[in-house]
Point group: C2
Chain length 212, copies 2
């Protein structure tokens, strides 16, 4: 099966499997049936079997899944054993929170540079990094070759800077700019994060519950 | 059709429709065909027709969608015209960023209280709010009756506090605690936000692209 034939919706569910397996490992669980895993994750057992079969299927009839083996395999599929380098653009409240709150290394990333164009922020420390002037991005990328950019900047700035960053070797965008960055470049991956969408969904679900 | 028979995956797509329609409105677009909207949103036209039909269908054969009418209707379905009150627990980096970065009011919420148990944070200002001692939550909830809690606290604290908050009248949780809060209470809605899952997905997609 061609690697990219696995649907994006299956890939999006993998980190969740990974989290639940990590918790099972922490409680000393050695093996688990698809039925039990399904109950824990609020999925159907057939969904779980279907998802994991996309990658060759790890379960054994009558045994279930070996938790440690499945955890390691999903870690590998997710590429968490790699250490890609990432830069973050926009060191406002959100950028600072992302850079300090996220455990990048356990997710296959090292944050190597934080940039802003606000003179009041340039030179400030964010964790172990010093906020650099956005004007230095070109030189920095040529020297360090980061492959991922985290965009915590406004929409217009994100649109403006995306093509330039691709020219500098960026291949992945983690985009918080309140805007669906849709790049028509081959070989570029974008994950748009819309916190507002999640909050609106909560609002909608509460309304529907109350109206029912 | 019973209101809750609309699937959660359709509801989750509504905020994205809302964002795209808002942009179309801003550019003065009066009407749009499902085909053109599909191209903009990178969905299929049939997906769009299917999604919007869940709510009665707003399009007209040969005309497409009236942008303003569809935008208003989706705003209403999302309940963005309401103003629910929300409290935020955990005023660390992430909590501060969420409370200052989010435009709550355009999403149907008013943030009325921010709480932490760290004496160094209590009394600090976050936007227009003063961080209160977590011990005051009971009294605060009884006085102000917030319906939503935003959890920017660690997993163990989230598990511990959730039931108590339900007892205090909280009906919706926006949960950033690195943990799938799965509450078995009728009439309670939880939106778990896992920023790490999104970053892991980006990592996985980059790997698969490179390996292909």
């Amino acid at each position: 099966m061609a690697k990219n034939s696995v649907s994006l919706s299956v890939i999006r569910r993998l980190p969740r499997y990974h989290r639940f397996l990590k918790e099972l490992l922490a409680t000393g669980t050695v093996r688990i049936s698809s039925k039990d895993l399904a109950r824990k994750m609020r999925l159907s057992a057939s969904q779980i079997r279907q998802d994991l079969n996309c990658f060759g299927g790890f379960g054994q009839q009558g045994y279930g899944y070996n938790v440690e083996a499945l955890y390691q395999e999903i870690s590998h599929i997710l590429g968490l054993d790699q250490q890609r380098t990432a830069i973050l653009l926009g060191a406002g409240n959100l950028g600072k929170a992302i850079s300090q709150h996220m455990d990048f290394s356990s997710r296959g990333f090292t944050l190597v540079g934080v940039f802003d164009n606000n003179p009041a922020l340039i030179g400030q420390q964010v964790g172990e990094l010093t906020i650099l002037d956005s004007k230095e991005i070109d030189v920095f990328c040529k020297a360090h070759g980061p492959s991922v950019a985290i965009l915590c900047i406004p929409k217009d700035a994100a649109i403006e800077v995306a093509d330039k960053l691709i020219g500098l070797g960026i291949r992945g965008f983690w985009n918080f700019s309140h805007y669906d960055l849709l790049l028509d470049h081959q070989g570029i991956v974008v994950e748009n994060v819309h916190l507002g969408d999640s909050l609106s969904t909560l609002c909608c679900r509460l309304n529907r519950l109350e109206e029912d």
